[in-house]
């Protein structure tokens, strides 16, 4: 039971429980925000953020709770944001899809598919100009690799050797449409990146340690001017595209497809690698933290009416 395993478990379990609690609260209508849960695919954010430092940046999509938490973004700020409260990370103006924590290196997440990719590439350009050795990791789904700005960004990053790690969380679906209906070569994501000059690694079993190892190698290279890299992590989304529930009864996929992924759930896997006393202590800490964050959100004030017009311009 290494220190690394405990650290990764804590991060994985914390995200899992935050999202489970979010799903539990959701039917109460206290969260009036479309939630895109990462349950089942938390390990990508956890593994990548584990090799990043406080000065490094991460960017993501509407499905960014995991990234936000793994990078050290505020938990009370996240919950309060979903509640639409003044104390939320966007002061109630972004909701679940637009998380941010500048102090923790979480750039704002974006809800138009793929838009975070060039934006994060711009952060990487700024990092290169500053020459401070910081790096950027940007998370996106398989659907985003079909957007033009994905190719445009990778080409630019390769051309200028920008310090950015492109992380494709390939869960096989764009909403309900499988990759096979969207790509002539569903296995072609890494090849496309390579063709643009971005070295790419595919990890197809969802192993948190394998993803971490690939990220560590890539980040070490880019800190000394080695240029961008891409990791394609194949994962599986357990819940709906958007919403708190499972959707295996909807006809587009079934339990049989999910079963192998649930059997190699990284949260359960790492839980089994910890001794019971350590695990219980970690779990208890997580539950207390979440309870406090929810209480904070519940008791926070709603935004004042004048907030509607605040911050249209800086």
């Amino acid at each position: 039971m290494s220190e690394e395993t405990v650290r990764l478990y804590r991060s994985l379990k914390r995200i899992r429980r935050v999202e489970e609690v979010t799903a539990e609260i959701y039917p109460s209508d206290k969260i009036k925000s479309p939630v895109h849960l990462a349950i089942g695919q938390e390990q990508v954010s956890v593994a990548v953020c584990d090799v990043l430092g406080p000065r490094d940046w991460v960017g993501g999509s509407y499905r960014s709770h995991a990234m936000h938490l793994a990078k050290g973004g505020s938990l009370p700020g996240l919950i309060a944001e979903m509640y639409g409260k003044e104390t939320g990370c966007c002061r109630g103006k972004g909701g679940s899809m637009h998380v941010i924590d500048v102090a923790a290196g979480v750039m704002g997440s974006s809800a138009v598919v793929g838009t975070q990719i060039p934006m994060a590439t711009g952060y990487a350009l700024a990092a290169k100009m500053a020459g401070d050795g910081s790096v950027v990791a940007v998370f996106f789904g398989d659907g985003a690799t079909e957007e033009g700005c994905f190719y445009e960004s990778l080409n630019f990053a390769a051309l200028h050797r920008l310090p950015i790690l492109y992380v494709c969380e390939n869960n096989g679906y764009a909403i309900h449409e499988p990759l096979s209906k969207r790509r002539a070569r569903p296995e072609g994501i890494c090849g496309a990146a390579e063709a643009l000059g971005v070295p790419a690694t595919r990890i197809d079993d969802g192993c948190v340690f394998a993803i971490r190892s690939a990220a560590e190698t890539a980040v070490r290279t880019m800190r000394t001017g080695g240029g961008p890299a891409l990791i394609e992590a194949v994962v599986y989304r357990w819940r709906q595209h958007v919403g708190p529930n499972e959707d295996y009864d909807q006809g587009y996929r079934g339990h049989d497809e999910a079963q192998p992924w649930k059997e190699r759930d990284q949260v359960a896997r790492l839980a089994g690698m910890l001794d019971p006393a350590t695990r219980e202590a970690v779990d208890a800490g997580i539950e207390a933290e979440i309870e406090a964050a929810v209480a904070f959100a519940e008791s926070s004030p709603v935004p004042a009416a004048e907030e509607l017009y605040a911050d249209v311009f800086a």
């Binding site: 704002g108 990719i117 249209v312």
Partner: protein, 351 residues
């Protein structure tokens, strides 16, 4: 605009001077876009900057307007001050997702935690076969979106002052330049100077009619005013300089006095800037006669004979203003030869 510390400068050189002075002052300013570092340097507006500031701060881009706009936005949020250049405003349609969904909204939707100090400059073409896809004034599309500033300087003085103000602004600024203005000259301060946004300028004074021009239409309206003056009609030409923020108060004040408002835009009238100005004046005044002029409601053709009727010009502006100011007098139109502007006559292609 004259002072001992100024001299006559072309619009394009005034822009170049703004970049040089701001890049000298602030090392976070950088300039990128297709052709900014080539031997022509965007008609000269970026010439010599590569040699002066190096390829880290002056560089071309792949033909990837969408992602390059996103890169500029990200770099801006990370503390840089990018100036992104497009050689035609039409090409900015490839950037709409980034500009409308990210740049305009970033400060607001992320709770004020980030700023986007970005300048997007683009040229509007006219004449010499620019045609459907090289001639569009799309400022109204951007002005529609909260969070974007839109400026359209009409002379060399304002080109420099607005560019410096845009670079120093913490918000995304859409900077509309008209290609035919590039060779026009004005008195421009030698020192860095800012022309503030949201403050209109009265270019001529008059009591008979208010004419608001946008971009190059300011110059066309000034010529129209000169011809109208010879016919005994005194027109007050107003240059809003910035569309967002819009100094509607100055326009309303003038229109209340003259009782007549003619808005001449370098764009279509349908849902355009002229519609906005007309509506605001109508809402805030009583009894003001309002008319609008702009691009003809069709696509810009390339044939010079067809193109001539696509745009308002000093003759048609003067004719319209006369009819508004002298409704009971016979129709009047100035000699078309005298209505032609030197900077339009002198222009030769290719661009």
């Amino acid at each position: 605009m004259s002072s001992p510390e100024s001299r006559t400068l072309r619009y394009v050189d005034a822009l170049r001077e703004a970049f040089e002075q701001e890049m000298e002052r602030d090392s976070t300013v950088f300039l990128f876009g297709l052709d900014v570092d080539d031997h022509l340097g965007i008609q000269g507006s970026t010439k010599g900057l590569l040699e002066r500031f190096g390829p880290e701060r002056v560089f071309t881009t792949p033909l990837s307007e969408d992602a390059m706009t996103g890169v500029a936005i990200g770099a801006a949020m990370a503390g840089r001050r990018p100036v992104h250049v497009h050689i035609r405003m039409d090409f900015m349609l490839l950037c709409m997702n980034q500009l409308v969904n990210i740049a305009a909204k970033a400060h607001y939707m992320w709770g004020g935690q980030v700023r986007v100090p970005l300048v997007v400059r683009s040229m509007v073409g006219k004449s010499w076969g620019q045609g459907a896809q090289h001639s569009q004034g799309l400022h109204a599309l951007f002005a529609h979106i909260p969070g974007l500033k839109v400026v359209a300087p009409s002379n060399a003085h304002d080109a420099k002052g607005c560019m410096i103000a845009a670079i120093r602004d913490d918000n995304p600024v859409i900077f509309m330049e008209h290609r035919l203005l590039y060779n026009t000259e004005a008195d421009v301060p030698v020192a860095p100077c800012e022309v503030p946004f949201g403050k209109a300028r009265l270019c001529t004074r008059g009591d008979d009619i208010t004419i608001v021009g946008v971009s190059n239409m300011v110059q066309e309206a000034i010529r129209a005013a000169e011809l109208l003056a010879e016919a005994g009609v005194r027109a007050e030409v107003v240059d809003p300089i910035s569309i967002v923020p819009l100094d509607i108060a100055t326009i309303v004040r003038s229109a209340r006095r003259t009782r007549r408002l003619l808005v001449v835009d370098n764009g279509w009238t349908m849902c355009g800037v002229s519609a906005e100005i007309a509506a605001r004046v109508a809402e805030e005044t009583e009894g003001v006669r309002i008319r609008r002029m702009g691009f003809a409601p069709t696509t810009c053709p390339t044939s010079p004979w067809l193109e001539a009727d696509f745009y308002p010009n000093p003759a048609t502006i003067a004719e319209t203003a006369w009819a508004m100011a002298r409704p009971d007098a016979p129709a009047w139109r100035p000699d078309p030869e005298r209505a032609r502007l030197a900077w339009q006559v002198q222009f030769k292609g290719p661009f």
